[in-house]
Amino acid sequence: MTPAPNSPSDSVGSRREPKRRRAWDEVPRWQIYLPLSVYLVFTLIPFYWIMLFALRPAGSTSLVPWPLTLEHFDKVWTERAFGTYFQNSVLVGLATLVMTTLVALAGGYALARFDFRVKRWFMLALLCSQFVPGALMLVPLFEIFAKLQMINSLGSVIIAETVFQLPLSMILISNFIKNVPYSLEEQAWVDGCSRFRAFCAVVLPLLRPGLIAVGSFAFVHSWNHFLFALMFLSNQELQTIPVGLNTLMSADSVDLGALAAGGIIAAVPVVIVFAFIQKWLITGFSAGAVKG
């Protein structure tokens, strides 16, 4: 906007500005709210439904969860061992998060800051590996972990989850690092920092949003994914939450209340993570996923 010292032209300018914006921006309100409400109903009814089953007494067909009861939660947590499953899932999720982030950080830095001979091949391998389906690799992976004597240890699931999370994480992190000006690092070297110290002191703090996004993806993915745990862990003590849910669903007589309560328990950590990282999600995506 041009600076206008005298008031008449100022008022003209300010009247014009919103008018022009309204011209292309304005869509009739009902064209926004009507479809959005319809979609919102479709989105929210399923959530309401699971709350309903989890909170009303068994056998009730009431459409309001009243009288409220926590019996289903109590049941799945103790009788159905969801307490143990929860611990296992947390362990797998956190370990996957740490491993994925560290390995992807190292590799992503190499991709962002160096030109080396096999780089193109490495990038190609990363892209291609996105098309390799984990579910189709169950048999050979099972054999490998059997040879390593890691069947029935959470380590097998952690490694498998990390490996399939790694390519996308590395592409994302290298894109985030590319956005940090190289000159900042060089400046730190001039000041006498080693390459590693310069990285820790200058680049790492600027990467925090990116690392949070990548780490959360890794956590949520391994929290939700269930085939690896189903295949590699036959010991019930070691099972994770999604496998527990699958067991509840495929039982001969399905306990719907327990199923709903188990589902809500499964959702809680994910909801917390997403509430926490929401504002970084879209940036994270536009930085990496589409371009990658």
């Binding site: 869509v27 919102l40 390519p167 994910v270």
Partner: protein
Amino acid sequence: MAQAAAVAKPPAPPAPRGRRRGSSTPRGLPYLLIAPAVLLMLGFIAYPVLSVFYYSLQHYNPTKPWRDGFAGLDNFVHAFTEDPLFWDTLGFSAKWVVVEVGLQLLFGLALALIVNQTFVGRAMGRALVFSPWAVSGVLTSVIWVLLFNSQTGITRYLADLGIGSYGTSWLSDTATVFPAAIVADLWRGVPFFAILILADLQSVSKDLYEAAEVDGAGKVRQFLHITLPHLKDAIVLSTLLRMVWEFNNVDLLYTLTGGGPAGETTTLPLYVATTSVDAHNFGYASALTTVAFVILLFCSVLYLRLSKFGGDSK
């Protein structure tokens, strides 16, 4: 880049190391940095892929070890000529991927355009309509099993309104299981597409719309001539990725329908999973996997072409 480095080096000799310690970085550093990733991917992706190819030529079934041994192309011949389920799963995979991703794209685009407008309550609206995206395949199954339950599900209340009938779950009826599974997966998949498209929508320059407005272009023409062309690349690439993902993902169907009723909802990867996990027929499962790889290979080549991998990336 490489050229610039080569040019920059010769003048450096007077102070090759002391000037700044960053440049004294050992030449092997990038290789050291990618080593953990390379080792993990070689051991747990590349090697398994190769063993799948190897097993596909073997009879290999832990429950029937007396049959084990070299099979040649038997497994493939069996799949293509003797196993009607194989062709059914291929057909269902195609139907599933095309319908599911097509609808996700359509609704996702519409949703993104809506929440890209400025309106009161936008942040809240976005958070709510995007929320199912965070829900996993298994949890989606739990939710829709509850909704489709014939006794206490929402289908019972819909039957009161004359939609559907009492008694049978939509998931156990061959006539309704496909649309039911589609709706369940759409619930979670549309927000994903909407988020991707929204991210790209926000980078469209508003000047373009203002210019179009001045030239007298209406809303529809602005959408067709500015918005769509801008979104084209992102839409093509994410659609392709999403198709691969929907093809590969077995969590939802495995737990929602188990592939049933009567194999009506078994995709090829789901068939592989059940053949290996439940039937322990590892050789045959590996042959089916190989077929799936060939299909995926075609998709990856297409993806690399479209994303212009050979072009500018440094």
